[in-house]
Point group: C2
C-alpha cells in the first residue's frame, strides 16, 4: 500500500488516464489512422511551444533533441556560446566538443543565472558565433535565466538562440515566437506528464537556413529528413507509437487549459515550496529572482546527508524526489518538482514527507510548519 | 467490433499482457528498483542475442542502433562494405555516406541474397576494409543471407561484421558468438512484441577496440558512455522507462521458452504462408532458399493493385499487413509478418482476409484453398 509518487524533475507524475493510453492496442505508423494522430501532435506541440515554426519529433529522450540541434546547426570548427550554470548547461558544451565545435564557455556559479550582458559581450567581440546554447530551467540547480532578454540580444546578430526547455517547458514561461527563440528542445516526460521516450524540437526559418550549411554527420536526427516527413504528417523513422498516442492526449489536456494559464499555477507551487522550506528553517539553493517554476532545490541542513534523506523518502515512504547532481551538489540539496500533473496536494504530501524524514534524521524544527506555510500560499 | 491485428513486419502484434505493463505506474530510472530491472534486461537481451558481449540499449527506434554502429566503429574516409539487397541494406550505405565513410556497395537484385563469396572477393582486394554491414532479414524483400558463412569469412580479417537484425531477431536463427558476429543491432517492436521506442546493440571486444579509433562525432549513441553506464546497470541518458519495464517482461516470455526453440515455430509459419500463397495461385517474391522466417513477401497477381489490397484488408477488415517499399515493389507485393506474438491462428486469419480481399477485387481462385494449405502445414 506504499504510495508511488514521483516529485522528481523528470520523469514526473504520469496521470492514470495517460497510463491507460500507453497500454492501448498498437496501430501501425504508416496508416491514415496514425497520420491523423501525428497531425494533431505537431499542432499541439506548436501550441505548447507558442510557435509557428516546424516541430520535429524523435523517438529518443531529451538529449537526442539536444544532439539534433548541435549536429544540424553547426559544423566542426564553427563557433558557439554555451552557458554552464549546471549539469545541463555542461551538456551543451560536451555536445559541441563531440562535434568539434569551438564553444566559448560562459561558466556561471551553480545557483546563479547567466547575465544577458555577458552573452552580449562575447557576441560583440566574436562576430562569427553561429549559435548560443542556453537552458530554460537548469534542472540541476533549479535556476532559470532571462531567456527573453537573451533572445533580444541574439536576434540582432546572425547567431541563432537554442534553448534546452526539457524540464522547463510547461511550468516556466516560454514565448518562442514572440521572444524570437530559434530552436527549442524538449521531451515528453516532464511538463507533458508521460514516461520518457519522445523528444521534440522547434526550428525557426533562420535556424533551418543555418542547418543547410552544416557538414556535421547526422542521419536519425536530420532536420532535412524530418522536414520532408513532417510535410506529409510523417516521421522519417519509426516513431514511439504508443508514446505518441499518449502525447496527443496529454497535449489535449494541456491545450484545453492553455499553457499560459498554467504558468501562474506552477509559480504558486514553487512559491509554496520555498515558503515551506523557509518555515522549517531551510534555505533555497537558487537566487529567488532566478528560481525556476519547474523544480526547487532546497539546501539540506548541516549534519544531514542529502542522499540518505532522498533514499528514506523514496524507499520508506514511496515518494521520489531528486538529490543533488555532480560534485557540487551531491548530498547537499533535495530537488522537488512542480511540473506536469503534480498538484497542490502532491506538494503538501512532498513537504509532509520531507518533514517526516528530516525529523527521523534528527533535524530540529516545528513539525507541520512547512505544510502550513505551503497551505497559506495556496490559499492566498 | 473490427479486429485490430498487426501482421506487419514491425510494429508487430503486442500481446495484452505487455500492453498492461506499458500502462503501469512509472518509477524513476535512477533508483535501485529500476537498476534491478535494467540488470535483468541486459541479461535477457544477451540470451536472445546468444552472446556474452556487452549489450547497450537506447531510447530510439532501430535506426538509432544502426547509426550507433556506424558512428562508433568508423571515421570519415574509413572503408566499409555495405550490401544493398533492399531498402534496409540501402540504409547502411546512406549511414556510411552521412559519416563520410567510403562504402563499397554490393548491389544485389531485390529478392536475392548476397553470396558470401562476393564479400570475400572485396575483402581480398581491399585489405583496409574496417566493417562489413549486412541485414539478417531484409524486411523490404523478406530475404535472408547466409550470415554464418559471411561471418566465417569476415572473422579471418581485421574487419568487423555488423548485422542489422531489427526484424530478423526472434524468427531468424542468429548465433552471435558461435558464428562470430561482432555487432548486432535490433529493436523491441518486432520479435520482442512491443511498441517501438527501444533499440539495442551487442558489441564484441574486437568491435570495442575498433571503436576506440573512431573520430566520428557521437554523443547520445556513444559506446564509451554506454559501456561506462552498463557496468553500473545504468544508461547514460534517460531510458524509455515503461518500454524497458515491458521489455523485461517480454524477454522473460521469450527466454522461458528459449529463442532456439522458437525458430522452428516461426519457420513453420513462414512455410504455411508460402504454401497458402501457392495454393491460391500466387508466387513468393524471394527465392525460397533465402526466404526469411520473419516476413513473407507475396507477389500481387497481375491486374490487382497491391496498395488497394493492403488498404482494403486494413481499413475494411482491420488486419494490417505491409505493402511493397520503394519503386521496385510499391503496389507489387503484400508482406505478412510471422514474428513475436503472431501465432498460427493469426496466420490463418491473415490468409483468410487475403483471400477475402483478393476475391472482392476480382482475382479468380478457389476460396479456402489458401487457408487449407496453411492448416496442412501446421498439422504436419
Amino acid at each position: 500500500m506504499k504510495r508511488n509518487l514521483l516529485l522528481s524533475p523528470g520523469p514526473s507524475k504520469v496521470p492514470a488516464e495517460l497510463c491507460e493510453v500507453l497500454g492501448r492496442p498498437i496501430i501501425h505508423h504508416r496508416t491514415p489512422q496514425f497520420q491523423a494522430i501525428l497531425k494533431e501532435v505537431f499542432e499541439g506541440l506548436k501550441k505548447v511551444l507558442k510557435t509557428q515554426n516546424d516541430v520535429f519529433i524523435f523517438a529518443s529522450s531529451g538529449t537526442g533533441a539536444m544532439e539534433a540541434a548541435v549536429a544540424n546547426l553547426l559544423s566542426a570548427k564553427d563557433k558557439a556560446i554555451t552557458v554552464e550554470a549546471g549539469k545541463f548547461g555542461e551538456r551543451w558544451t560536451e555536445l559541441c566538443k563531440a562535434y568539434g565545435v569551438d564553444a566559448k564557455v560562459l561558466k556561471i556559479a551553480w545557483g546563479k543565472a547567466v547575465q544577458p550582458a555577458a552573452i552580449q559581450e562575447i557576441l560583440a567581440v566574436e562576430k562569427d558565433i553561429k549559435a548560443v546554447f542556453i537552458t530554460l530551467c537548469e534542472t540541476s540547480t533549479a535556476t532559470m535565466p532571462d531567456v527573453k532578454a537573451i533572445a533580444d540580444i541574439v536576434k540582432q546578430t546572425s547567431a541563432v538562440l537554442v534553448v534546452d526547455a526539457i524540464s522547463g517547458l510547461g511550468p516556466d514561461e516560454l514565448l518562442t515566437d514572440e521572444w524570437g527563440v530559434d530552436v527549442v528542445c524538449s521531451a515528453c516526460h516532464k511538463g507533458l506528464m508521460l514516461p520518457p521516450g519522445v523528444s521534440f524540437i522547434s526550428v525557426s526559418p533562420k535556424a533551418m537556413k543555418l542547418a543547410e550549411q552544416s557538414t556535421s554527420p547526422k542521419y536519425y536526427y536530420s532536420f532535412k529528413k524530418s522536414k520532408k516527413a513532417v510535410e506529409k504528417a510523417d516521421t522519417p523513422f519509426t516513431p514511439a507509437i504508443n508514446l505518441v498516442m499518449a502525447l496527443n492526449e496529454s497535449l489535449k489536456m494541456v491545450n484545453a487549459k492553455g499553457i499560459e494559464n498554467m504558468w501562474p499555477y506552477y509559480a504558486k507551487m514553487a512559491k509554496a515550496v520555498r515558503a515551506a522550506a523557509k518555515a522549517i528553517g531551510l534555505t533555497i539553493f537558487a537566487d529567488e529572482a532566478n528560481a525556476s517554476n519547474a523544480v526547487t532545490a532546497i539546501n539540506v541542513p548541516p549534519g544531514i546527508d542529502g542522499e540518505k534523506l532522498v533514499k528514506a523518502m523514496r524507499d520508506v515512504h514511496g515518494i521520489t524526489m531528486a538529490g543533488g547532481q555532480g560534485e557540487e551538489l551531491k548530498g547537499k540539496v533535495v530537488r522537488i518538482a512542480h511540473m506536469g500533473a503534480v498538484d497542490e496536494y502532491d506538494i503538501l504530501t512532498g513537504i509532509a514527507v520531507l518533514e517526516k524524514a528530516l525529523c527521523a534524521m534528527g533535524y530540529k524544527f516545528e513539525l507541520g510548519a512547512g505544510v502550513a506555510a505551503a497551505q497559506k500560499v495556496f490559499n492566498s
